[in-house]
Amino acid sequence: MATLSTSNEPFLTRIKESEADKFMQKSVAKAQDAQWEKRPASRKELGHWEDWRNLGEQIRQHVIKYLPDYLEEFSDNVEKRGGHVFFAQTDKDAVAYIKKIAQQKQAHKIVKSKSMVTTEINLDKELLKLPDTSVLETDLAEFILEEDNWDEPTHIVFPTLHKNRDQIRKIFQKLGYKGSNEPGEMAKFARHYLRRSFLEADLGITGCNFAIADQGMINLVTNEGNADLTMAIPDTQVVVMGMERIVPSLKEAEVMDNMLSRSAVGQKLTSYCTFAGPQTADESDGPKDFYVVILDNGRSKALGTDFEPALQCIRCGSCLNVCPVYRHIGGHGYGSIYPGPIGAVLSPILGGYEKFKDLPFACSLNAACTDTCPVKIPLHKLLIKHREVMMDKMKIDHSFNNVLMKGAGVATATPIVFNIALKGGYLGSAPLAKKSKTSVDNFFHYGHIEWAPSLAKGWTDVRSLPRPAKGSENFRSWYKKHQAAKQAQAKEEHDNG
């Protein structure tokens, strides 16, 4: 399985599978709870967080508004530095171009640092089709996933959340590891194993947190140091970036790096924030040949629509860390490499409704994601918008209607229990309010609650996790209400002449 989609199973099956994985659930809960304290603390320490958010939003909205101009400026400046830029409309275009470079450079040993966009285009497996070529992921988590037969990531910042130390030890044992399951010892093993590969590598592939338009440099934000080795040692570097990942100058990059670090991991800055381009004439390391691949792959479909704000995303993972649905079903439940609230917004844009129609319903509309987003993407509103768009499509396109209703198990399979869960969850939970410390489990936009009893199987288990909003709706009641509202509006317009 590859590219954007990580599963062929229907949504309900995925939810049930995720539900059965108690270790995963515990790990996600642990991660969320750890970040629950750290993230707000680090934002509070910075001070004026809302004003920082306004600035972050302004920077991201501005570059999206003038995206072609910034991409033009950036690509000109990369060339001035001696680098090369390729604009890839689709994943296939990007992969074909990168394969061509690998072949031209006769690169056989490729090292990579973590990049979601290369997962989106299925780059690793495509490169492995080249004769006599090895591709090694060097981020510790991605390395673990690769060595575990290319398992899928489950979180955009912590991809191996679903694996425990014993599983990781087993994976490493296949590579000759003889030590204990102690994380420090296993990390040392990975360090030695991967160091050899860095020294032998002839091509390095990285993602890009932000491209710096006026410098022709890219900015990478990491904690392990593998991205910097990937950019230092091999002769050639290929950067793959989503076309929206750009800022005007080093100043805005610096603002975004600060906001990203605090939002992603509750750190003031991550260990390594690097701004880099091709080697200059007097330097002895860094890429002699530097290629940037700028990818659309469906992103332009969001432009000029209500979904444009989704392109502001800086992939901090904060919205995942506050989401009660993500807490329960984990990354794999979403069936997309982009899980959580942003995944539920982005996946249908990039991959289409037919494949990802369920995701806009994987949401309790508690708006915690919107509140935490450092660049103020109105995530829960965009999820409602997706539902509206699908409704409109249903009305005009019967084939779509059938696909949707058959597939949208969340809405059709258990409508009654779903409703009970919603009601029961809301009303039943009220007396329990304010008993323990607030966390993702009990936080709700309109207050704080304790666990509401689970009332049904599958989706309803998930939906009853937080105290559901009075206003939160299932697919059918939501549809009915909106239909009625639309009819009323149409009537009004008609009456008004």
Partner: protein, 235 residues
């Protein structure tokens, strides 16, 4: 660059967005607040030092201060403490500025390698790989986050900061600045004026680390296992 490829791509964006291209010149980015500059502004150098110490220790940095006249002894202490056998050093005229020329001359050549401006990639990378310690000079120390800022120059390359096992950074107290903003303004200006030619700027905050295995913090993954900052107080 294939210009046709770029034009098609950018025109497609403009069409979808329903916004014409080439509007930026009349609408440059103007930030709506000055938080990046005003945060932690107005502090004395002593206050910044105290903040820097706190932030650095928070990210597991061994934070030390010394007077310039004691710097050589402080470095020797460090080398002994870490039991460093093979050192890599940058090629720079900063040695004189820090009064370390004698210290440098006394180092045995057998145990000291230099990142050399004219050496090839393989040679410098291998030297950094063989070193169990590096002593580098930073351009700035960012008080807020305990971060050293350093631009790649021919005498102090990229891998210099990443391959050695232990890393000591020397920073004059006068180069402690509030935040990353001040460092970025400096680099922007130096690059623009042509005084600095670099392909790479590193902001390094403590040793490399990872929480990828059960969210347990492991310090020292691909980069140095530990970091020491040595602030020279009378510089």
């Amino acid at each position: 660059m294939d210009k046709a490829n770029r034009e098609a791509f950018l025109n497609n964006i403009a069409t979808h967005a329903k916004r014409p291209r080439h509007q930026l010149a009349n609408h440059p980015f103007k930030p709506l607040n000055n938080l990046p500059e005003s945060t932690l502004s107005g502090k004395t150098q002593d206050q910044l030092l105290a903040i820097a110490r706190h932030s650095s220790e928070e990210v597991h940095v061994d934070f030390r201060t010394t007077a310039k006249e004691n710097l050589a002894a402080a470095i020797n202490d460090y080398l002994q403490h870490k039991n460093i056998q093979h050192l890599i050093l940058p090629t720079t005229d900063l040695w004189q500025k820090f009064s370390l020329a004698d210290w440098q001359n006394q180092r045995s050549t057998e145990h000291t390698a230099y990142w050399e401006p004219r050496a090839d990639r393989q040679t410098n990378v291998q030297r950094a790989q063989n070193a169990d310690g590096a002593i580098g000079f930073a351009d700035f120390l960012l008080a807020e986050s305990g971060t050293i800022a350093v631009a790649t120059v021919p005498g102090q390359g990229r891998a210099f900061h990443f391959l050695p096992t232990h890393y000591l950074s020397i920073i004059p107290k006068s180069r402690i600045v509030p935040r990353s903003r001040q460092a970025m303004l400096y680099y922007e200006q130096k690059i623009k004026s042509g005084e600095l030619t670099t392909s790479n700027i590193n902001l390094i905050t403590g040793p490399s680390n990872s929480g990828d295995i059960e969210m347990v913090l492991v310090v020292g993954v691909h980069g140095p296992l530990d970091m020491t900052y040595m602030v020279v107080e009378d510089l």
